[in-house]
């Protein structure tokens, strides 16, 4: 089963109401981005990070389980929309492929999943750089928005 678009995990919405996630730049939780193969079968019912179908290196050791830690950007608002952002993340000297990603909260008990991201196609780096650029941090485009 393949990726089917970006979506927010339902459990994350509930956990937000329980105060389970802190996206603040200073003192916030540790969020990570893990990369996955096309064999992944995430749905909105996904609740936590899994190593199942997580990518592995075709050569070298650029990618480690659980992926990269993300740099948080303070949540803010514009009109009636609240949003948060992360700094771009990249893997250098990378030789691997990925079809999508999961952002999860490494500080949360059970590594709670936040969002699932569909890259739209298999992305491959060969002895090069694999970089994920986050969208503009505004009310229309930011990676996580609550309107």
């Amino acid at each position: 089963m393949a990726f089917s678009g970006n979506f927010m995990c339902t459990s994350f919405k509930k956990e937000l109401m329980e105060g389970g996630h802190n996206f603040k730049n200073s003192g916030g939780d540790t969020f990570r981005m893990a990369l996955y193969t096309d064999s992944s079968s995430f749905t909105a019912a996904t609740t936590a990070y899994t190593s199942s179908n997580e990518i592995t290196n075709d050569a070298g050791s650029a990618y480690s389980a659980k992926g990269n830690s993300l740099t948080r950007v303070d949540p803010t608002t514009s009109s009636t929309t609240a949003y948060t952002d992360f700094a771009d993340t990249s893997w250098s000297t990378a030789t691997f492929s990925a079809m999508g990603a999961m952002i999860f909260n490494d500080s949360h008990s059970g590594d709670a999943s936040v969002v699932i991201l569909d890259f739209g196609a298999l992305k491959t780096a060969t002895a090069g750089t694999f970089t994920v650029a986050f969208p503009a941090a505004d009310a229309s485009n930011a990676i996580i928005r609550i309107a």
Partner: protein, 92 residues
């Protein structure tokens, strides 16, 4: 009703090379300057010109930082007696 929405990431990959200073200058510029979709055309033109100028500034100083860092590596290699390696790095 409160709606949660997700933005789209952009994945860039390379084969047998790295992303150059121009890529990172573009990314930094995008982080610093956003132009509103509904802005007046004159403002948009000015903002685009300013954005282009900022992109060049970022690009210049990123390249300067690379030169500085490479110079530091070369100095460390030479002081450790690895002249061949230092010469190789110098040719990059």
């Amino acid at each position: 009703m409160i709606n949660g929405e997700i933005g789209n990431v952009i994945v860039t990959t390379t084969e047998h090379c790295n992303l150059g200073p121009e890529h990172w200058a573009d990314r930094a510029t995008e982080q610093v300057i956003a132009i509103g979709e509904d802005a007046h055309p004159l403002i948009v033109d000015q903002a685009k010109a300013f954005k282009d100028r900022i992109r060049h500034v970022f690009s210049y100083y990123i390249k300067e930082a690379i030169i500085e860092d490479r110079s530091k590596v070369i100095t460390l290699l030479r002081s450790a007696g690895h002249n061949d390696l230092a010469n190789s790095v110098e040719k990059l």
